[in-house]
């Protein structure tokens, strides 16, 4: 389910909102979700970041054109544009950095299967692949190449512990329900299940929340 479909369902005025504003909303949602989820979420394939990049470029050009113009009216417009520009820049930067931090922490995990690799953008995939190669090369040249061949792996699970670290999918997250939903969640001592209402905010394990978020019944907050 696409975020557009979700928005259309929850917001009947969806089509009256201009594209640019919708993009900002989508960016804000993606940013919030990425910072809350313990694992990397799929890179938006809707062309969102291409549009946002264009929009930022456009705004920068506008600022440059208007700079030096002392008309107080344009001056005020300039301030508004610049505030908006800073906000865009911050959201994109913070979003990308949150993703890079997750990719860096569990690089081998995100490179391990096609499904996981598909969550990365093309640029992120190139970055992660190269980063892992640099690390491996660093270990090899520092000590690993002198090891017996059978001990040189970076991806086995010998000795009862996997060398490939994975994100903690049972970490707690907050979600807001987008519609009335029956929610089941696992606890430490006992599990719980209840009918929850739209706009309720609940805390639960990400592994329990994920299906709801993916189905569009809830969003991360």
């Amino acid at each position: 389910m696409d975020i557009d479909d979700i928005l259309r369902e929850v917001d009947p005025t969806f089509h009256t909102i201009p594209q640019e504003k919708r993009d900002l909303q989508e960016l804000t949602r993606a940013w919030t979700a990425e910072r809350s989820a313990p694992e990397l979420l799929p890179w938006p394939t809707s062309g969102l970041f291409e549009r946002i990049n264009d929009s930022i470029k456009h705004q920068i050009e506008k600022v440059e054109e208007m700079t030096g113009d002392m008309d107080p009216k344009t001056n005020f417009a300039l301030i508004v544009i610049q505030t908006e520009l800073e906000r865009y820049r911050y959201l994109v930067r913070s979003y990308l950095r949150a993703r890079i931090a997750k990719i860096d922490r569990h690089t081998l995990h995100y490179l391990s299967t096609d499904d996981l690799r598909a969550r990365l953008s093309e640029m992120e995939l190139a970055y992660a692949t190269r980063h892992q190669a640099l690390l491996h090369n660093h270990y090899l040249s520092s000590f690993l190449s002198s090891f017996p061949a059978g001990l040189q792996n970076l991806n086995d699970a010998a000795g009862g512990i996997s060398m490939i670290e994975t994100p903690d999918l049972d970490a707690a997250v907050f979600i807001r329900l987008l519609k009335d939903t029956f929610v089941t969640a696992r606890g430490v001592d006992e599990d719980d299940a209840a009918n929850m209402r739209e706009s309720d905010i609940i805390i639960l394990r990400w592994s329990d929340a994920k299906p709801l978020v993916e189905a569009g019944s809830a969003e991360l907050v």
Partner: protein, 195 residues
């Protein structure tokens, strides 16, 4: 447990008392006698990373016995458990082991100690509340006047500092997180008041 995690690696260097179940000619060095065989029945303190696998591994004989048997380390001995039962906050866990809970968890994995599991859990819950309380107080974050912390018999003075000194690594992390959380919460509130 994650492969590259420094605290997890250090936890596994904690030693536990083990007893070898068979003679092993080449392992005398584990008992400081490298030129002699290690005799069955010899007690040796082994780090967890070694002991765990030797306990689990089957020596391959008909009775299916292990290479070594183990006892609980002194950090989780009866004295400590009794003291924790009396008052979890009064025991400086750090003096027992800097990775007290990590050690406890590993031991639970090796043996079914129902009572100890219950004691450790109660210890953690009780102390975590105390940790959070101190995290808010340190650096003047705590609010003055009557509040839930009035229930504590540990002030910020001598007893409080002694309590903080006795935190194990896990509790220290918790303390830092709670402290940062309280601090940014306070900054946020002040930011709101300004507007």
């Amino acid at each position: 447990m994650s492969y590259y995690d420094i605290d997890s690696i250090l936890t596994q260097s904690e030693k536990i008392p083990c007893t070898f179940q068979l003679d092993i000619p080449d392992l005398g060095y584990l008992d400081n006698t490298p030129t002699q065989p290690l005799k069955a029945g010899t007690k040796v303190n082994l780090p967890l990373w070694l002991a765990e696998m030797l306990v689990i591994a089957n020596s391959g004989d008909a009775e299916g016995k292990s290479f070594v048997t183990f006892d609980l380390p002194p950090a989780l001995g009866n004295d400590v458990v009794q003291a924790l039962k009396a008052d979890p906050r009064a025991v400086p866990l750090r003096d027992q082991s800097p990775h007290f809970y990590g050690l406890g968890t590993h031991m639970m994995d090796l043996s079914e100690e129902q009572e100890m599991a219950a004691v450790l859990r109660k210890t953690f819950v009780t102390r975590a509340a105390e940790v959070a309380l101190h995290a808010r107080k340190v650096g003047g974050v705590g609010h003055r006047g009557k509040g839930p912390e009035e229930g504590s018999n540990l002030g910020i003075g001598g007893a409080g500092e002694e309590f903080l000194r006795g935190l194990d690594e896990w509790e220290r992390k918790l303390f830092r997180k709670a402290h940062d959380g309280a601090k940014s919460g306070k900054e946020w509130m002040e930011g709101v008041k300004k507007h």
